[in-house]
């Protein structure tokens, strides 16, 4: 029991070193199995996506619909890594299914590939999380559901800035994001796209974070908070892009063609709803 309390209250360096030793020894076979299972799943998923894309393309061609839009969607799905450039690397995302690892995931890239603490992680849909620990050939990151996740964000038109943080639901499927610290006079409509602002040097500018669902809170005369539906659910992500050490301060608005237009939100029509 004393050992447990010493580990809990001792220096973080002890925990980090012991954790690294255990992962490379006793837990290594299980992480290896997880990598193998994820690779198989990813291969199946890729085949399913390719089949779906082929079917979609066939349907579009058959119906002589506008191919330009479809092309743009497929490009977004398939070549984000190419367009993002060499400062971003694609890798597999492995979520470990233990309580201690909740809100975190492993990446197949590490310090030797240029990943550093604070490297952003995102998918074609938008921001997933940020790297917190880096080892030689692997890294551990937190996703946006982790209580320590924070990102400086803004509306896509750059009019309203705030800090986005997780908001736990009663069940994990209900987890959302909340943008706090927005000016009180701001009037962000449901469906407005929220993107990273690029302030600080962690996250590049212009990565989609989510869409505003409703106003969450209004501190008397000071600021507002908005509830944001995340752009990416971590449990659905298999392959991600990781920013390397040179990516800080980059502007990625062009990758997602971020604009001030609003995404329709089915549940929110009429005046801005207020949550209790």
């Amino acid at each position: 029991m004393l050992i447990a309390f010493v580990l809990l209250l001792g220096p973080t360096e002890w925990s980090r070193n012991l954790r690294q030793v255990l992962r490379n020894t006793a837990l290594r076979p299980f992480v290896g199995i997880r990598e193998w299972v994820a690779t198989r799943k990813s291969d199946r998923e890729d085949l399913r996506i390719v089949r779906a894309q082929r079917d979609s393309l066939a349907a579009v061609v058959a119906a002589q619909a506008v191919l330009r839009e479809e092309n743009a969607r497929l490009r977004a799905l398939l070549s984000l890594a190419t367009r993002a450039g060499p400062q971003f690397r694609a890798t597999q995302m492995l979520s470990l299914g233990t309580d201690a690892a909740e809100g975190t995931f492993l990446l197949g890239l590490g310090a030797s590939q240029g990943v550093v603490v604070g490297s952003p992680v995102f998918t074609v849909g938008g921001l997933v999380g940020v790297v917190r620990e880096v080892h030689r050939n692997s890294a551990q990151a937190i996703d946006w559901t982790h209580p320590e996740f924070r990102v400086s964000a803004m509306t896509a038109d750059g009019q309203v800035y705030g800090i986005v943080e997780p908001r736990r639901g009663s069940f994990r499927e209900e987890d959302l994001l909340i943008m706090t610290g927005a000016p009180f006079h701001s009037d962000v409509q449901p469906g407005t796209r929220i993107v990273t602002s690029g302030r600080g040097t962690v996250f590049p500018r212009g990565v989609p974070v989510g869409d505003v669902v409703s106003i969450q809170d209004a501190d008397t005369g000071w600021r507002k908070s908005y509830l944001v539906r995340p752009a990416v659910r971590p449990e659905s992500a298999l392959q991600v892009l990781v920013g390397l050490s040179t990516s800080g301060g980059a502007d990625l608005s062009g990758l997602w063609e971020v604009s001030a237009t609003r995404t329709p939100v089915p549940a929110a029509s009429g005046p801005l709803p207020r949550t209790p």
């Binding site: 925990s15 199995i33 997880r34 299972v37 994820a38 201690a100 908001r167």
Partner: protein
């Protein structure tokens, strides 16, 4: 011989836990067999041994996260101590007894964990009285099924 067989059974539970949770990535849908192993061991070992087992398994489980290594260790160690202590006033060897024992023990372990790591759930009290008992029941059923299988393989006296 019985002790070796039981030790092997506990080792299998631990392997199965990490295989289901980490290897296959099943997460919360897989039962918490570490708590089951500690609780079953607590009925047969001394108090220090069950506490030590709880600490070791807790450290292994915590090693997969990015936080400190202690919370799960403390929860499992106290669970082991309580399990051993319960031998003094609760006796039983049937599967129904173990079902109830594991259910209460796993529920207690989750409560201890939420005390050691406060603020991780949106409404912890609600979760502890609604979701946690269901998960404890599910895990206890797994534990009893595996125990029954072990007894079948190793003999009823094992």
């Amino acid at each position: 011989m019985r002790a070796y067989a039981f030790g092997l059974f506990l080792f299998t539970l631990v392997l199965l836990h990490f295989l289901l949770h980490v290897g296959l990535g099943l997460g919360d849908s897989a039962p918490d067999l570490l708590a089951v192993a500690v609780l079953l061991a607590a009925r047969r070992t001394t108090l220090p041994a069950s506490a030590l087992l709880g600490v070791v398994l807790g450290v292994l489980d915590d090693a997969l996260g990015i936080g400190p290594l202690g919370p799960r260790s403390i929860a499992l160690a106290i669970t082991g101590v309580l399990g051993t202590w319960s031998r003094g006033f609760v006796e039983g060897d049937g599967l129904l007894f173990f079902l109830a024992y594991l259910f209460v023990g796993i529920w207690a372990s989750d409560i201890l964990l939420s005390v050691v790591t406060p603020g991780t759930a949106a409404s912890p009290l609600l979760s502890l009285v609604t979701l946690t008992p269901l998960v404890s029941c599910w895990t206890a059923l797994w534990g009893v099924a595996l125990l029954a299988l072990f007894r079948r393989v190793a003999g009823p006296d094992a």
